[in-house]
Amino acid sequence: MTSVLVIAARAVVAICMVLLVVLVVFDAHAERFTAGLAPLQFSGQVEGDLREEYAKLVGVAHNAGDDIGAAHEAAAHGVDAVEIDVTSVGGELHASHDAPVPFFETLFFRGPELEEAWDAARLRDTVLLHLKESSPAYLEDLRRFLSTRRDRKLIIQTGDARSLRVLRRTVPWAERLQLIFTERDLEALRGDAGLVALLDGVSVRDRLLTASRHAWLEQRGLKTFAWTVNDNRRMNELIERGLDGLITDRLDFMALLGGRPELVR
């Protein structure tokens, strides 16, 4: 009995030592599971001609709602909309890019509650929610949360078609965007007329958004948002094609798109 206890204790010691070493070596990764992923907002040098069309499309601060400081910074730069990643942590809605450690969420997780993120995001006219889950309980929590917050324009993006169908019924005032992560997602959308009819638009990974695909989306009356665009020339190219929303980490792009060019160096 004693020897079993010793072996078990030593196994626990070994596991704990490994965990402590992992926490030291993979510090940044570990932070994602305890505080979510902090958005990396930055400014750069804007190159080339500035366009008059900037103010016509919606500039979105990528993941900025996951960090209250980043949301405030984006709002100060005049961004049109703040994106919040919505995760359920211990039955409560939070703003976090990554799901926290399972079973230990309430102990380890430090990311902001959705309510805090919303209060920061509502400094601007539009809030964009990126749904990270799709369970019925999660969607019901979201409906309840949003039912008392109808003072801002709301855009919801998710990769789950079933969630979009539920949201059309439960949160009808929101714009619904289908997230496109891969070419396969795009092909699936092309072959699903019912899904196209359900959508207000799509939110597409930048590298997938070729001119022909963009034209196809426009022909079907779908708004097009692109993520994550941090390149000046690419931004101008997409604007020329008639992009509707641009999700970016760059504070100077947010200022341009938000109609505050004086903030751009």
Binding site: T2, S3, L5, V6, A8, A9, R10, V12, V13, C16, M17, L19, L20, L23, D27, A30, E31, T34, A35, V101, F104, L107, F108, R110
Partner: protein, 71 residues
């Protein structure tokens, strides 16, 4: 006959170490937030969990040393 208490004592020590390390992991994980630590003449950023752990280890070490000298 004299081996049994020694084995039991060793098992108790191993279990105590295991429990301490579990607490260490929980403390570090639950306080994995960057804070500015200000000491006289020295200011640096560190995870709160590590700061707590180092303070606990120093306190434990000082207490153990004091006990050993007292005996």
């Amino acid at each position: 006959m004299s081996r049994r208490p020694e084995t039991a004592r060793r098992a108790a020590r191993d279990v105590a170490i295991a429990i301490s390390l579990v607490f260490a992991v929980v403390i570090v994980g639950a306080n994995f937030v960057l804070v500015e630590v200000r000491l006289p003449g020295l200011t640096f950023e560190a995870r709160l969990g590590w700061v707590i752990l180092v303070a606990l280890a120093l306190g434990f070490g000082a207490g153990a040393l004091w006990m050993r000298r007292a005996h």
